[in-house]
């Protein structure tokens, strides 16, 4: 697998995270139940790692789309990307979200985004791009599983996709190439925003779930990165 320097740091961070949290894995640590805190931390760390990973992927992909998509100040209106789950939300609304809703929204958003992302992978013209996208999809799948784990730990049911509303990738002439590129651009942008929002979500959850004594430890742990 082609790993760049950035990837290596990300992998290292991920590895460190895993090692740090090894004692927290229930199978290894049977001394006491620590609750959902460690898995939230893990999800938070994974979110940060994905943020980093996306940064390099987006650079590659936007270059592939060509100008003006790869220009830093390019900010097109959201034309055909209405079906993408929006990450932006009013601050008050976000604050008022309860844990279950917060996690559910995250789970649903990443389910959709993952599906779109796989479609993106299918139409990429270069093998290298496909590899990068597949790598990211795998990571995102991991995040989805991680969120599902947190929800399970908190006793929330996973949201069931409504039949027929499963987002599917429809290749073909329905979209022009330009609109497709706009969608790709927005997909990456929404992914970025979602990852940023999730980091805040999980940070909030983490603080909420932490027992006061363990806070110091986790705080130190977070500083490790």
């Amino acid at each position: 697998m082609d790993l760049r320097a950035g990837d290596s740091w990300g992998m290292l961070a991920c590895l460190c995270t895993v090692l740090w949290h090894l004692p927290a894995v229930p199978a290894l640590n049977r001394t006491g139940d620590l609750g959902p805190g460690p898995s939230i931390q893990k999800t938070y760390d994974l979110t940060r790692y994905l943020e980093h990973q996306l940064r390099s992927l987006a650079g590659t992909y936007l270059n592939y789309l060509g100008p003006p998509f790869n220009e830093p100040d390019f900010n097109p209106p959201r034309l055909g990307a209405e079906t993408l789950p929006r990450a932006t939300v009013d601050l008050e609304v976000w604050r008022s979200l309860n844990d279950k809703l917060r996690l559910t929204q995250n789970y649903e958003a990443y389910s959709h985004l993952l599906c779109y992302l796989r479609g993106l992978n299918r139409q990429a013209a270069t093998a290298e791009l496909r590899r990068s996208l597949a790598h990211f999809c795998t990571s995102l799948q991991g995040l989805l599983g991680s969120i599902a784990g947190v929800m399970a730990a908190l006793g929330y049911p996973l949201p069931q996709p409504l039949p027929g509303t499963e987002p599917t990738w429809t290749p073909g002439p329905a979209h022009s190439d330009f609109l497709q590129k706009m969608d790709d651009f927005w997909l990456l942008k929404e992914l970025q925003t979602w990852l940023w929002r999730s980091a805040k979500d999980f940070n909030r959850l983490k603080k909420k779930m932490q027992p006061p004594a363990a806070a110091v430890t986790l705080h130190l742990g977070a500083h490790g990165f």
């Binding site: 022009s176 190439d177 590129k181």
Partner: protein
């Protein structure tokens, strides 16, 4: 209007005209004559003119006959009615030159069937109320105009995706009797302002039927961008019609427009175009478009209807894999499209088809130039086989790489010839390559697998391998590589019939028994195309066979002649045919047979005690399969007395031996050799040579240069071997390794007898060719010895080539002289080392005696003569050389002088010799002499300057001194001023360190430094300063200084001998006044001297440190 008013006027004046019914010409003549009243005349003139006009109209018939046709069958002729005719006017039109047909009609036009070629007279008679008028016209087809009916566009449609307009119309050709060419002119207009975009002519033919015509036009601008209008007209170019052919009127305009939906759109969308072409993009918008970009490039806007704009791109360059983006920006939105600029597929290059297994054909090709298009726009390759009609398709979604493309085509049963067409297709075009192959000639078999070797016998094996493929109908050509050793390699080709089950078996013969072979195989077909890759290597050892020959045998009698030693050589591997386990040796004579059996292999020698001399010895080698044929040799040696030892020198590696042909030698010759230094019986090796040979080259790896070998040539007869020649030889001669050991046997006054010993053979390393003896005068440890050998003129050389000579007498030498003798031996290989010796010849006694006697005799004679002469002249001699001398004790003056010189204070009267006593006075110390700061670290005395000044007067001693003779003038006048007398300052040892102050004037006037003692002539203070250092010394430490150069003492220990030697020029000599004898007490005071300050471990420093301590 004018014409109308004039007509009215004519009507009003009709009555006047009737009254004056005169011919007009009369009126004119009359007017000519009357000119009195101009106004009147003008009125008359106008009136008459108008009347004339009216009159002429009355006479004129129909005019301006004009005929046109729109179908060439009917001419529509019209004319202008004469003026004044009313509606009820009838016309009679008669056409002459035809069967005088006349038509009556009320219109001013008539449709007549088309007239054939020629002039026709048309008479049109207009019949009206007030009369009739007739006009004649000449009508020809040439005067007739052919003006087709105005065409009508049946349909105008558009394909927006391709920006193409499709036009459909009817030529209405059925009305034309003949085939005619029609020229259509089609006009395309764009935008609301109807700008002409395209005007084309389109030619068709009328064929007597109504025909629909189509015309299409691809717009450079997408049709969605603006409204497009089309109109059409035509002109018929009939060969059968000679009249004028004119354009029809333009058809009614038709238009095409795109009804935009609510969204702003950019056109064209996702278009694929050829690199380098021009393309127009437009943005159909309701908002104002601010800018347009293609890639990074800003483009100027072309304004269309409304807010729509377009941009035109010239010479577009190839797109990236995701296409080139074209973006239009409005106030708060952006719109765009993607264009894919690429190339049509290149012709597939190097298309070639082959098969590995005759089951599947692999066609490969090089795609050539990249199209720049990927994904859905990538090139699709179709491999079509024309005989079977089958095809396979290939599409690669990824960006193209340099590797070649491949397609697999399943072979069809019973088809050998395939005609492939490879078609490459993409949105910009297509290309193709074809290849016709007989697939049985294009077989590139897979690598043979499961390669196995099995024994048949000791010289043959079977090879089996697996070669996947259906080769049942062809023959395979396989190549077997047989490698016996690292160097020996053989390739054998075998042709085998192809089989269906892919297993092949072949026998490989003509192998050597008991040989390790490395085998591998590769295959092709009989119609060679390519070899397969080599199979894996297989090593195989063939089985053993009986040894093919007996061992090469030789025998030697032991030194006592009782035992026969039998030698044999191990069989070479190609004759042993297996591992030799043992040997059997038997000796048989007529009476008895002795045998030694089962001698194990590593032993190649046997010894048998034999009573007689005449045996046949046979040796048999045995391996696991059987015994070799016996090799036999006779034991008997036939004596040969006529033997000489010959010498031979080889050629580096071997030695060439030749002999004369001897018909008596019935079997072979044997040459045996051994190292000459070994004792007999000696055998290193032997070689058998066929009896018909007369020469052989003996070569052996054992031969070493510089080693002497003995060679013995035996000839073989029936009963035994006879030694024919004995040869000593070297393969290569070298120089002797040692010098000959020589001694001097006898030495006389003029000769030396030298004797030397032979050099041992091992150290000689070649045939001795002589000695070189050098001799010359020379002594041990002189360089002459070295050059002795190298041809010095004094050196004599003797070359001794007589080997038997062991002594040499060197004569004609000088007596009692050292001679250097050198002896060296040489061979053809070079000079050996030299051995040298020094010998002194004995004295020549006769010469010595003569040398002694002659001088003695001469001395005696001279003595005698002198004695005689002296005796004769003894008085004269006495007077001259030895007169009487008065007794000095009788001289008083001398007595006085003596007492003075003894320093007695009791001065007596000076009588004989002037003797002026000199006073030596100690000068007063100057009170203001410069303080010597440095002395603090030099002299302990400096610590007490006050004491010193006190002590000084005590040290003053006035000494009277009387030099014996004062001959030298005092050069410095200052010295005279100082009292005109030399002064000597005596100081004792204790006060040596105290610097002696000196008057400043004296310092200035006494430039002479203390450079050595000036005994009795100059005082030290009168010496001249010679260098700056000394001057500085004077400044700082004025006073007494030793008369030696102090500077030179700085680095040298005062008591070292060098300190005296180095100052030899200025050293003082043993005077009681000299300070030289005690200079070790005086520390060098020149502290400022760089030498003493140099940080060196100077004596001064050491001293000072001690004092400080």
């Amino acid at each position: 209007m004018l014409y109308r008013s004039l007509t009215d006027c004519i009507a009003q004046t009709m009555d006047i005209y009737l009254c004056l019914k005169r011919p007009s010409w009369m009126v004119a003549s009359k007017r000519m004559r009357t000119a009195s009243n101009f106004q009147w005349l003008l009125s008359i003139f106008i009136l008459l003119y108008l009347m004339n006009q009216v009159n002429s109209q009355k006479k004129e018939g129909p005019h301006d006959l004009k005929c046109v046709t729109n179908n060439l069958q009917v001419w529509d002729c019209s004319w202008k009615a004469p003026s004044g005719t009313s509606r009820g006017t009838n016309y009679e039109v008669c056409i002459e030159n035809r069967s005088h047909s006349c038509y009556r009609l009320e219109k001013t036009n008539i449709k007549i069937p088309a007239l054939s070629h020629g002039d026709y007279e048309i008479i049109i008679n207009s019949l009206h109320d007030f009369g009739s008028s007739t006009s004649k016209f000449t009508l020809n087809e040439k005067n007739v105009s052919l003006i087709p009916d105005t065409p009508e566009i049946l349909n105008l449609s558009a394909d927006f995706s391709t920006s193409t307009l499709y036009l459909k119309w009817n030529d209405r050709g059925s009305v034309f009797p003949h085939h005619s060419n029609v020229i259509w002119e089609i006009k395309v207009l764009r935008k609301g302002s109807m700008e002409l975009v395209k005007l084309v002519t389109h030619n068709t033919t009328l064929n007597g039927k109504d025909t629909l015509h189509h015309w299409s036009w691809a717009s450079d601008m997408p049709l969605e961008c603006a409204i497009h209008f089309v109109e059409i007209r035509c002109r018929i170019d009939s060969l059968h019609f000679s009249g004028r052919k004119e354009w029809s009127d333009w058809s009614p305009v038709k238009n095409i427009s795109w009804t935009p939906d609510s969204q702003t759109k950019v056109f064209p969308q996702d278009k694929v175009i050829l690199v380098g072409s021009d393309i127009t993009f437009c943005c159909v918008s309701q908002e104002k478009v601010l800018s347009a970009l293609i890639g990074h490039t800003n483009c100027p806007l072309i304004h269309l209807d409304g807010e729509s704009v377009a941009i035109k791109i010239h010479n577009i360059s190839v797109s990236a894999s995701s296409g080139t983006n074209v973006v239009f920006t409005t106030e708060d939105n952006i719109f765009g499209t993607v264009v894919f600029a690429g190339y049509p597929p290149d012709t597939p290059q190097q298309l070639d088809c082959e098969t590995h297994d005759l089951k599947e054909i692999i066609c490969s090709w090089n795609p050539g130039r990249s199209t720049g298009l990927v994904g859905p726009r990538a090139t699709i390759y179709t491999l079509y086989e024309s005989f079977s009609g089958k095809y396979v398709r290939y599409k690669r979604d990824e960006a193209p790489t340099n590797e070649s493309y491949q397609l697999f085509f399943q072979m069809l049963p019973n088809q050998q010839i395939y005609n492939f067409t490879l078609n490459a297709h993409n949105p910009l075009g297509q290309s193709e390559s074809t290849i016709l192959v007989n697939i049985t000639e294009k077989v590139y078999p897979h690598t043979p697998t499961s390669f196995k070797v099995k024994d048949i016998n000791s010289t043959a094996v079977t090879l089996s391998w697996h070669l996947p493929g259906n080769f049942a109908k062809i023959n395979l050509l396989c190549q077997i590589e047989i490698k016996k050793s690292k160097s020996v390699q053989e390739q054998r080709n075998v042709t085998i019939k192809g089989v269906e089950n892919s297993s092949y078996l072949v026998a490989l013969d003509k192998l050597n028994p008991y040989t390790l072979y490395t085998l591998r195989i590769r295959c092709s077909t009989e119609a060679f195309w390519k070899w397969s890759k080599w199979s894996n290597k297989k090593q195989h050892l063939t089985t053993e066979a009986i040894p093919s020959k007996g061992p090469d045998t030789w025998r030697e009698w032991s030194s006592d002649g009782k035992n026969l030693i039998i030698y044999w050589k191990p069989l070479p591997i190609n004759e042993a045919n297996g591992k030799i386990l043992s040997y059997n040796v038997s000796c048989s004579s007529d009476e008895e047979t002795q045998s030694l059996s089962e001698i194990p292999d590593p032993q190649h020698k046997a010894e048998i005690r034999l009573d007689k001399n005449d045996y046949i010895i046979s040796v048999v080698a045995k391996n696991s399969v059987g015994s070799s044929p016996p090799s036999k040799i006779a034991s008997m040696e036939i004596p040969n007395d006529d033997l000489e030892i010959e010498q031979v020198v080889g050629m580096g590696k071997g030695i060439l031996l030749t002999w004369h042909y001897d018909p008596n030698m019935t079997c072979d010759y044997v040459i045996k050799w051994c190292n000459s230094s070994r004792l007999e019986p000696c055998l290193m090796d032997w070689r058998k040579v066929p009896s018909n040979s007369t020469e052989t080259v003996i070569e052996s790896d054992q031969f070493r240069p510089g080693v002497r070998y003995n060679f013995f040539l035996y000839g073989c007869r029936n009963q035994g071997y006879q030694l024919l020649r004995t040869i000593i030889g070297y393969v290569e001669e070298l120089a002797p390794i040692v010098a000959p050991n020589f001694t001097v046997e006898d030495t006389s006054a003029d000769s030396i007898l030298v004797k030397w010993e032979d050099i041992p053979v091992e150290e000689l390393r070649g045939f001795l060719r002589g000695y070189l003896f050098y001799f010359g005068k020379g002594e041990r440890d002189t360089s002459k010895m070295r050059v002795l050998v190298s041809g010095h003129s004094d050196i004599k050389v003797k070359n001794i080539t007589d080997m038997s000579q062991k002594t040499l007498r060197i004569a004609d030498l000088q007596g009692k002289t050292s001679y250097h003798l050198v002896l060296r031996a040489y061979t053809d290989g070079g000079m050996g080392p030299e051995k040298s010796m020094y010998v002194v010849t004995k004295e020549n006694s006769v010469g010595l005696i003569i040398a002694i006697l002659i001088p003695v005799a001469v001395a005696v004679i001279v003595g005698v003569v002198t004695s005689i002469l002296c005796y004769r002249k003894r008085e004269w001699i006495k007077e001259t050389f030895y007169p009487d001398i008065p007794n000095p004790e009788n001289c008083k003056a001398l007595q006085f002088q003596k007492s003075v010189c003894e320093g007695s204070n009791a001065l007596k009267t000076l009588e004989m010799n002037p003797c002026t006593p000199n006073n030596v006075e100690v000068l007063e110390t100057r009170s203001a002499f410069p303080k010597i700061e440095d002395t603090e670290i030099i002299s302990p005395v400096a610590e007490r300057p006050e004491d010193r000044s006190d002590a000084e007067p005590e040290n003053h001693v006035v000494v009277s001194y009387c030099p014996p003779i004062i001959e030298e003038e005092i050069p410095n006048p200052a010295a005279d001023e100082a009292g005109g007398a030399a002064q000597v300052i005596y100081i004792d040892v204790q006060s040596m360190y105290q610097p002696q102050a000196k008057p400043e004037e004296e310092q200035e006037n006494n430039p002479v430094g203390g450079a050595g003692y000036k005994p009795q002539m100059h005082l030290p203070i009168n010496s001249t300063v010679e260098d700056i250092a000394a001057e500085e010394d004077l400044d700082k430490t004025v006073g007494y200084r030793p008369q030696a150069n102090v500077n030179t003492w700085n680095l040298v220990s005062p008591d070292s001998p060098r300190s005296i030697d180095s100052n030899s020029e200025i050293v003082s000599f043993g005077s009681p006044c000299s300070i030289n004898s005690r200079q070790f007490l005086i520390p060098p005071k020149d502290e400022d001297s760089p030498k003493s300050n140099g940080g060196g471990w100077s004596f001064t420093n050491f001293f000072q440190n001690k004092s400080n301590d």
